[in-house]
């Protein structure tokens, strides 16, 4: 198959899948709409993490820092300043971006790499969680509730879950496009060069510090926007659920399992995990820890048997086949 046919085939497939997802909510029940929305959502967050962790190779164990800042920024602005949540979403993204640049500047300037960067991110996220906890017990011991405004697009509140489905689909689509865009440009190659060997990349004249900051900025901006979506979806913000390590882990599991540094890997991984968690929840009900236990087991087996994730593993398999 020549490359032009291959490309148009790919585009056709994308259009078909897109169209299918657009009409899907009219054929399935509310529960499935919820599950698929969550798959989109974790796919989105996973791809946001993937830009920093997958492409640029800077593993973050503390993306909850950006997620929480996003959720808190838009919610507090809305409650205290009457700022529209859509505008709040952009501002939340900016706040996340600023935090990302701050942390990134500190870490990359002083050459924190690899596992140390992961731990430093974890420490930053935990610091924010503790600060938020201290502040919340004084001001909002029950969590911050966003006042109900009824069904209104302008207020980012809907009685039905279908609009959230579409918003999330749009967000995911945008990040798929962005990842694809990055992958095809010079900047994507720079990211990968830094991931594979930072010193060698520097020797070739790539400003590793700058490009790591760029990756951090994009990733933190997108993650914070995800935080706003989460706040508007549940209409309540609690420090444990937005700043907690659970979010940091949930965000990175998808890309790791699906395939870090690939466009669709995070969506695939997020889909598998979310599907599994729903199945165990339905089968076992109250035992809430079981799905995390299975996550752990999957994580262990993927790292051992498919160190590049499911998509990465498939790619190597195809390469072997085509060499034959």
């Amino acid at each position: 198959m020549n490359s032009k046919n291959w490309m148009s085939g790919k585009i056709l497939a994308m259009v078909l899948v897109g169209a299918l997802l657009l009409i899907l909510p009219h054929f399935i029940g509310g529960y499935f709409i919820y599950v698929i929305t969550m798959i989109f959502f974790y796919g989105y967050l996973g791809m946001a993490w993937n830009i920093l962790g997958g492409y640029a190779g800077q593993f973050s164990f503390g993306h909850a820092a950006f997620f929480g800042v996003g959720a808190f920024t838009s919610t507090l602005l809305q409650i205290h300043g009457g700022v529209n949540p859509w505008i709040g979403m952009i501002l939340a993204g900016m706040a996340g971006l600023l935090l990302g640049l701050f942390i990134g500047y500190l870490c990359f300037r002083y050459g924190i790499r690899g596992p140390y960067f992961a731990l430093a991110m974890l420490a930053f996220a935990e610091m924010l969680r503790l600060l938020a906890m201290e502040w919340m017990t004084l001001r909002y011991p029950l969590g911050i509730s966003i006042p109900l405004k009824g069904d209104s697009f302008l207020d980012f509140q809907f009685r039905s879950k279908i609009p959230y489905y579409y918003i999330c689909l749009l967000m995911m689509g945008a990040v798929i496009y962005l990842s694809h865009f990055i992958e095809g440009r010079k900047i994507g190659s720079y990211f990968k060069a830094i991931r594979e060997n930072e010193d060698a990349a520097e020797a070739l004249g790539i400003n590793a510090f700058r490009y790591k900051l760029v990756a951090m900025a994009i990733s933190s901006f997108l993650t914070a926007i995800g935080g706003t979506f989460y706040a508007q979806y549940y209409l309540i913000v609690e420090e444990e659920s937005v700043f907690g390590p659970t979010i940091s882990i949930a965000v990175l599991l998808g890309p790791i399992i699906g395939g870090a540094g690939t466009v669709l890997g995070p969506v695939l991984g997020g889909g598998i995990l979310e599907g599994l968690s729903e199945i165990t929840r339905n089968l076992l009900g109250a035992y809430s820890g079981v799905h995390l236990m299975i996550y752990g087991a999957i994580l262990i087996s993927v790292i051992i048997f498919l160190p590049h994730g499911i998509l990465g593993g498939l790619q190597t398999a195809f390469q072997k086949l085509s060499k034959w």
């Binding site: 596992p115 420490a123 079981v290 995390l292």
Partner: protein
């Protein structure tokens, strides 16, 4: 104690172990159940928690971690995260998330010396920690096995050429490391609540201690422990409640930024 185990594992195998807190939790639960069901004294249960955690550690190394000894560092980190997710949620499933307390009558007394309250179990834990660390130190310095462990930690290729069985050393180091946290769990159980997620609280502190003392540096871990302990109690006098945890994270980040080789670390590698 937790930090000593962590630093041993890191020093020998260059793996940052996230599952450490989970192993500690297992140690705490061992003690808790032995006391509750069989009435065995918490300190006597050290005789059981240390060997059983050692075995768990060796098995983990044999069947899981040895598969990825040559993988990139972040994958090793993720693997230990997976192990910890698995163990903690298995515990959650088996023993529910309830907070439990070990109620032992003779340990509930606290002695007052001057104006300072001294809690009995904490003193015992402190003494035991020093004793066990001293034993471990002796083992590493004087015995052949201990020397092999140190050799692998300092010069992997060199150790291989003189015929040290690398796999056995790894098993041993990981086993001893987890046995250390198992003991730490047992010693902590009398004065701390027991719950499946309790390990996380200690393991973060332990990371700070290890980084502070210099990764893989044994004496450093002890000194680092003292510093963090001091910072925590001094901090607690000035700021309320949870904020004292903040101080630990703060120290952690500062050390990572400015002195990643640790306060007592040698800069030359």
């Amino acid at each position: 104690m937790v930090a000593v185990g962590l630093t041993l594992i890191f020093g020998v195998m260059k793996i940052i172990n996230f599952a450490h807190g989970s192993f500690m939790m297992l140690g705490m639960f061992t003690t808790y159940w032995l006391y509750l069901l069989l009435g065995i004294d918490p300190y006597l249960s050290l005789l059981l928690s240390i060997p059983s955690l050692f075995i768990i550690g060796v098995l983990t190394q044999r069947f899981v971690i040895s598969q990825i000894m040559d993988a990139p560092a972040h994958n090793q980190l993720l693997l230990t995260l997976g192990i910890s997710l698995f163990i903690e949620n298995l515990a959650l499933f088996l023993w529910t998330p309830n907070f439990r307390n070990l109620e032992v009558a003779y340990l509930r007394k606290a002695t007052t010396v001057g104006s300072v309250m001294i809690s009995f179990p904490k003193v015992i834990a402190f003494l035991f920690a020093i004793l066990l660390t001293a034993l471990l130190y002796y083992f590493l310095k004087k015995t052949d096995l201990g020397k092999a462990i140190r050799a692998v930690s300092e010069e992997k290729e060199g150790a291989l050429t003189v015929g040290i069985n690398m796999r056995r050393v790894y098993y041993l180091a990981f086993g001893i490391g987890t046995a250390c946290v198992g003991a730490a769990g047992t010693l902590t159980a009398p004065f701390f609540y027991v719950n499946p997620h309790v390990g996380g609280i200690f393991v973060i502190t332990a990371f700070v201690v290890v980084v502070l003392g210099g990764m893989g540096n044994f004496i450093g871990a002890l000194l680092g422990g003292l510093i963090v302990g001091l910072a925590e109690s001094v901090g607690a006098a000035f700021v309320p409640g949870q904020i004292k945890q903040l101080i630990i994270y703060f120290i952690f980040i500062i050390v990572l930024l400015f002195k990643p080789e640790g306060l007592f670390g040698r800069t030359s590698e």
